[in-house]
């Protein structure tokens, strides 16, 4: 595999900038970019996991210093997250043996990114229209009680000041872990909205908590991918990390200059565009219909 070091470093910087700006890990951008550069999807997914572990660790430390972490909530999400990651890595291995891994990675990206992107664009546009009409941009959330709050096994999370059933917490943890292992994304851009909408986690603790979860699921995904598929490329990961953490610092500063709703609209457009790019990739006749996969030596 020969890819220019500076191209990778530049991609790390660019994605780091975006991740710092929007407060996300950036895996959903990094993995596709690597794939479009010609790195095999399997290697990209496995190596990006460690890159996200690095950037979310930086974030988690920052939030820990500000005392904005809910460790109890993170631990509950995590217990299911690890199971989700292990299941994801197992499915990943199976799909690779069936030669359908690239297709599933592609399809997952198309579905997830276009749906999430469309929702974000819708939300962002609505906020834009509201500001134009002179109304406050943020819509007040509907009543704080939903069906989620009727589930049993309730638990109190002091730091976030919520009292919810552990069932949705586990479900969210599992989904994030599973999706992360298959797609090579930290899932921050999914986890944050899920925590806000389903569990009503306050904004004060949501990002920090999500970063702790991302950190641990991605760190364990790196180890599991290295053990089962031997696909992690440490050199590639290191270059990405270095670019990513530097870019994130500048991105965070740029993000503070922009209003939250506009930021979300922009992120939505970005997410949607990446989803479309994947759809294009799957729908257009490839240059070469044939490809090789190494099965074994000897």
């Amino acid at each position: 595999m020969s890819v220019n070091v500076f191209v990778i470093l530049g991609m790390g910087l660019a994605v780091g900038f975006i991740s710092g700006m929007f407060g996300i890990g950036g895996g959903f951008l990094m993995t596709p970019l690597l794939i479009f550069t010609g790195i095999p999807p399997a290697v990209a997914v496995a190596s990006v996991s460690s890159h996200i572990a690095a950037s979310s660790f930086t974030g988690a430390i920052t939030y820990w210093r500000r005392n904005a972490l809910d460790l109890a909530l993170a631990a509950m999400l995590l217990s299911a997250g690890i199971v989700g990651t292990a299941t994801g890595v197992w499915v990943f291995t199976g799909l690779r043996a069936l030669d359908q891994l690239d297709l599933v990675i592609g399809l997952s990206y198309v579905t997830l990114l276009s749906v999430v992107g469309a929702l974000m664009i819708y939300d962002g546009l609505r906020a834009e229209i509201r500001t134009h009409q002179g109304m406050p941009a943020t819509v007040r959330r509907p009543g704080s009680h939903t069906w989620v709050h009727g589930l049993p096994l309730k638990m109190r999370f002091k730091r976030s000041k919520i009292y919810v059933s552990v069932i949705p917490v586990w479900a969210i943890g599992f989904v994030i872990g599973f999706v992360g292992a298959i797609m090579g994304i930290g899932g921050g851009f999914l986890l944050v909205p899920m925590l806000i909408y389903f569990l009503r986690v306050p904004t004060a603790t949501v990002i920090g908590t999500s970063m702790v979860l991302t950190l641990i699921t991605m760190a364990s995904a790196t180890v599991m991918h290295a053990v089962t598929n031997h696909l992690v490329d440490a050199i590639l990961a290191l270059i990405l990390m270095v670019g990513g953490v530097i870019g994130a610092q500048f991105g965070a500063r740029a993000g503070q200059l922009m209003r939250g709703e506009r930021l979300r609209l922009l992120l939505g457009l970005l997410v949607f565009a990446v989803g479309l790019r994947f759809a294009y990739e799957l729908a257009v006749r490839p240059d070469d219909l044939y490809s090789l996969r190494h099965v074994g030596s000897g």
């Binding site: 460690s50 690095a54 790196t222 180890v223 599991m224 992690v232 044939y290 490809s291």
Partner: protein, 258 residues
């Protein structure tokens, strides 16, 4: 050139010899041990050889032809073909090529097709098209016909990657009986032992044969990492994770704002 001649003189008398063949073929490689470091950009190995006609055989009027086949360590690969399913391009069909060379170079003094009749070429496995590439068919293993689409695609992809090659002018005759061949090793030459099979033909028939071997081994940090990734996945994964945490921690210190 002088070095080459000394090499040749030293070699005469220790070469391989086919039992029932008329010509004695003596070959030597410039280097039997190729050490690939991280700055390796590929290398041409040089093969020298001489042809000694038997006392009984008269000089051949039409001259000699040489085909050198270099094969790398064996591996198993799957060739997959995408087809359109519900508007999407999906890997539908695939064939497994079992224990095929990870490196294959066919060097000759003129296009292989001109050297002998196609029947002879096939029997002697001369040229990329005639090399035996075993394919798994159900539970059996079988050779493939040269026109098989999966075989064609396999050879094409390997050729594009620089691992397979057929070079029709890589063998040069320095005198009518002394020859030299350049074996191109790519930068990502597979590690392992290679065999060099030299076949001498005259008038479209095999008249001499010799073998040699070489080994490619890697050294340096990249090889160390590649081996670690394969042999001790857990340790490698933990080390990568530790590296990630360290990078993240350093970044949080360096860019600390509060």
């Amino acid at each position: 050139m002088r070095r080459a001649l000394i090499l040749l003189l030293a070699l005469i008398g220790c070469g391989a010899q086919g039992p029932a063949l008329a010509e004695r073929l003596v070959v030597s490689l410039s280097n039997h041990q190729v050490l690939v470091l991280s700055n390796f950009v590929g290398e041409d190995l040089v093969l020298f050889g001489t042809i000694e006609p038997d006392a009984q055989t008269t000089a051949r009027a039409s001259g000699y032809d040489l085909v050198v086949t270099v094969t790398g360590p064996r591996e198993t690969l799957r060739t997959r073909r995408k087809e359109r399913v519900l508007g999407l391009w999906v890997n539908v069909d695939s064939r497994e090529f079992v224990r095929v060379p990870s490196y294959l170079a066919v060097l000759s003094n003129r296009p292989v097709g001109q050297i002998a009749a196609s029947e002879t070429l096939r029997r002697l496995q001369l040229g990329l098209d005639n090399f035996l590439l075993t394919q798994r068919v159900g539970f059996d293993l079988a050779d493939t016909v040269p026109g098989d689409p999966f075989r064609t695609a396999f050879v094409r992809l390997e050729t594009q990657a620089g691992r397979y090659s057929e070079l029709a002018s890589a063998v040069r005759f320095l005198t009518p009986s002394v020859f030299r061949a350049a074996i191109p090793l790519p930068a990502d030459a597979p590690v392992g032992s290679y065999t060099v099979d030299v076949k001498l033909l005259a008038d479209g028939a095999l008249v001499g044969r010799a073998n040699s071997e070489l080994s490619v081994s890697k050294a340096g940090i990249e090889q160390y990492l590649a081996e670690a990734a394969r042999n001790s996945g857990l340790l490698y994964g933990l080390a990568t994770t530790l590296m990630a945490l360290l990078t993240g921690w350093i970044a949080s210190i360096v860019f600390r704002r509060d």
